[in-house]
């Protein structure tokens, strides 16, 4: 029994049943397939977690992001004072995460690629683009660069999905995607 010592002291020489050998073989093959799916997707897939990242101070990032937004601001969002920024395709765009907002609102073009920079100015935040359901973790002191290509038009929400204090559920941003 499993609660008493093995009956035969030399248990490691006992033969293994056919079912067990077969299952271990099948399991091992499946594990190897799952393992190689990840490098394969880096070569062939279109969706991979960003690996480009830099250390940066919050002040420097805020200065950089505000300057970039000012250049292409086309208005403000609804009744808020959050600017709507329409950057040229292919450019670097800078989003700030802070208690409790995503700043600014970007207007992007469908099918174009942007280098989306993301950093927090205070605590950890979770960038969750909805209903696309793309999720990235945003740290203070680290600038992440995600190359992003919208494939559908519309108005998208940016929810915060990392707990960031009592106003966490108020932290909501927007992204707009228009036809070229």
């Amino acid at each position: 029994m499993a609660i008493s010592p093995p009956e035969q002291r030399i248990w490691w020489n006992e033969p293994i049943g056919r079912n067990e050998v077969l299952w271990i073989g099948i399991g091992l093959i499946w594990c190897i397939i799952m393992f190689f799916m990840m490098p394969y997707w880096h070569l062939e897939g279109q969706q991979n977690p960003p690996t480009e990242g830099y250390r940066i101070s919050s002040d420097d990032y805020a200065t950089k992001a505000e300057a970039a937004a000012a250049e292409y601001t086309v208005g403000t969002w609804g009744e808020t004072d959050v600017p709507v920024v329409s950057p040229p395709p292919g450019s670097d765009i800078y989003m700030i995460a802070r208690l409790w907002e995503w700043w600014p609102v970007f207007e992007l073009q469908k099918g174009e690629t942007y280098r989306l920079h993301l950093a927090s100015l205070d605590w950890l935040h979770g960038f969750s683009l909805q209903p696309v359901n793309l999720n990235l973790q945003i740290h203070p002191g680290y600038e992440m660069v995600a190359t992003i290509t919208p494939t559908e038009t519309g108005e998208f929400g940016i929810v915060c999905n990392e707990f960031c204090g009592i106003g966490h559920h108020l932290m909501l941003g927007k992204m707009i995607v228009v036809e070229k």
Binding site: E20, I24, Q137, A146, V159, E162
Partner: protein, 563 residues
């Protein structure tokens, strides 16, 4: 040497029981159940708040309850119970005296003081930082201190466990190798030491930061090291509950491992690879390379997943072999149909095994795939997954083994046997709902740890689809059912302990199970039983796994380009 007055012989099983060890097992198990009750109530209030029609707690209380829920059930309930299992798997199964019981008591009190301290600080409201307490968000220094004390206490208990193994070996209380269940407990204890060390490395500096002695804790480093504790602590649970599965199969069926070699190698794979996986929580972070992520997230080519798949075959396989030996040989599944489904120890254990595989295991691998994590990270899918592992897997297995411990260790007959009979099913149905509906909501993008997905008070607006609200409602209903199952467990256990009939210390009856010398099946190819029924079930599992895995790649392929 211990003198014989410190031992009694169990009239049911013939096990030689060291009384100081027995007392420690009792106390740890009782405290564990108390924290299960407290943590469970916090959990229920969280689920009721997520239920849109109820929205039970205000925001500050919601985040407070969620912090307390995570700490009390994920850490306190499970680790206290695991300490009881460690003492049982060493002193009781090896028929040996426990090493340094006084040290074990020091460990117990440190754990209790730490757990209470952290709970009090959280309830005071200034430490609603979640179980993960990511910096730079800061909790009260006593929050970190409480967890550190708890961890140090657990470390002392692990020392007593290892010491007991040495004593048993020196005093030759058993012959040959330790039992498989003890081997599983050793696996759990080794992982526990790694876990506690990682916790110390990150929480001690964080404590110093919270009192102003350290100026800066890097948030990314914090997450990397914290999860070496946070994720590994869940691997203690996996090792411990797999050991419990083997234990229950042995006690109820007299089941023997199909192959000692295979089962022990699978535990060895846990020791070697299961402590990886901390990067499961960091797959979409800035600043980590893909090579590191892929190696770590796959436990070095999924070798730990392979180990779990092996246990998934060998545990029910050992039951099938034992049942077939008793003559339940008709067709593929007579052995399973004729199993004692009315015995909560068996039904709880088997439900735990099936649900851990299907709900917790498959989804965990998918969630931990580097790219697929992009469409799941920090959504409600994550708690959906780990309620499948920790609640359906670990908690249900621990409940099941309690039905064996109450008569064996507490010498009490189970009060309300009918309620006990139904309890695992009620709990399992509730937890299945919890897990499935949270994962469903997560697939629709609903964030975890979020008080209000209607964004009523936010400056901007966003509407989740109606299906997401439906999922959260069903999640609330499931939580009520699971809580009912939990309450039934506590009523049965506490009732039995307080008012149950004490079992007579009658003359040692012949052991209910065949003693090892007349074991059910012999090893070696001649007498070795094949287990076609279990193999068929395993193939069902594999097909579900493969299908669900590729369905998620398809979802990923349809989303926006990102690199």
């Amino acid at each position: 040497m211990a003198n014989d007055t410190q031992f009694r012989t169990c009239p049911d099983t013939g096990l030689k029981i060291h009384l100081p060890a027995e007392k420690l097992i009792k106390t740890n198990a009782v405290v564990a159940v108390v924290f299960l009750l407290v943590g469970g109530l916090f959990g229920l209030s969280v689920a009721l708040t997520r239920w849109p029609a109820v929205h039970f707690l205000p925001a500050d209380w919601f985040y407070l309850a969620l912090t307390a829920h995570g700490l009390d059930v994920l850490l306190v309930w499970i680790i206290f119970f695991e300490m009881a299992i460690l003492y049982f798997a060493s002193a009781i199964l090896l028929g040996c005296r426990l090493a340094a019981p006084k040290l074990a008591w020091v460990g117990f009190w440190l754990m209790l003081v730490g757990a209470v301290m952290t709970n009090v600080v959280v309830l005071m409201g200034e430490s609603s930082v979640m179980f993960t307490s990511y910096v730079p968000m800061q909790a009260d220094p006593l929050f970190y201190l409480g967890i550190i004390l708890f961890a140090v206490g657990a470390l002392l208990c692990c020392c007593c466990f290892f010491g007991t193994l040495v004593i048993a070996k020196n005093e030759k209380t058993y012959e040959g190798s330790v039992p498989l269940v003890t081997f599983g407990a050793i696996t759990a204890a080794i992982i526990a030491v790694f876990t506690i060390a990682s916790g110390a490395i990150i929480l001690i500096p964080t404590l110093m930061w919270s009192v102003g002695l350290v100026s800066y804790i890097d948030p990314l480093m914090y997450k990397v090291v914290w999860w070496a504790m946070g994720h590994s602590s869940q691997q203690i649970n996996v090792s411990a509950h797999v050991a419990v599965w083997y234990l229950i199969a042995a006690v109820i069926f007299g089941a023997k491992p199909l192959s000692e070699k295979v089962s022990r190698t699978a535990f060895l794979l846990y020791i070697l690879f299961l402590q990886l996986g901390s990067v499961h929580h960091l797959l979409v972070e800035p600043g980590l390379s893909s090579e590191y992520k892929i190696f770590n997230t796959s436990y070095a080519m999924y070798l730990a997943v392979l180990a779990s798949m092996i246990h998934g075959l060998t545990v029910p396989g050992s039951i099938e072999a034992a049942q077939r030996e008793k003559g339940f040989n008709k067709g593929l599944f007579e052995w399973l149909r004729k199993a004692p489904w009315g015995n909560p120890a068996f039904s709880g254990m088997f439900l735990s095994l099936v649900m851990f595989g299907f709900l917790g295991g498959i989804t965990g691998v998918i969630l931990g795939t580097e790219q697929i994590n992009l469409i799941m990270h920090n959504t409600l899918y994550v708690p959906g997954h780990f309620h499948g592992t920790v609640v359906a897997g670990t908690t249900l297995a621990f409940m099941a083994v309690t039905y064996l411990l109450v008569p064996l260790i507490f010498r009490k007959e189970i009060l309300f046997p009918k309620m006990a009979q139904w309890q695992p099913y009620v709990f399992a149905i509730g937890v299945t709902g919890l897990s499935v509906f949270m994962m469903g909501a997560g697939t629709l993008g609903v964030p975890r740890r979020h008080w209000d997905i209607t964004f009523t008070d936010a400056a901007m607006s966003f509407d989740f689809p109606g299906a997401a609200y439906l999922m959260l409602g069903l999640n609330g209903v499931s939580a009520v059912v699971a809580s009912l199952g939990g309450a039934m467990f506590i009523i049965v256990v506490v009732g039995s302990l307080l008012f149950g009939k004490t079992k007579g210390e009658a003359a040692p009856a012949p052991a209910a199970e065949a003693p090892p010398t007349t074991a059910a099946a012999q090893y070696g190819s001649a007498a070795h039983l094949e287990v076609p029924g279990t193999f068929a079930l395993a193939m069902v599992f594999l097909v579900s796994f493969v299908l669900y895995y590729f369905v998620n790649w398809k979802y990923l392929a349809e989303t926006w380009g990102l690199s």
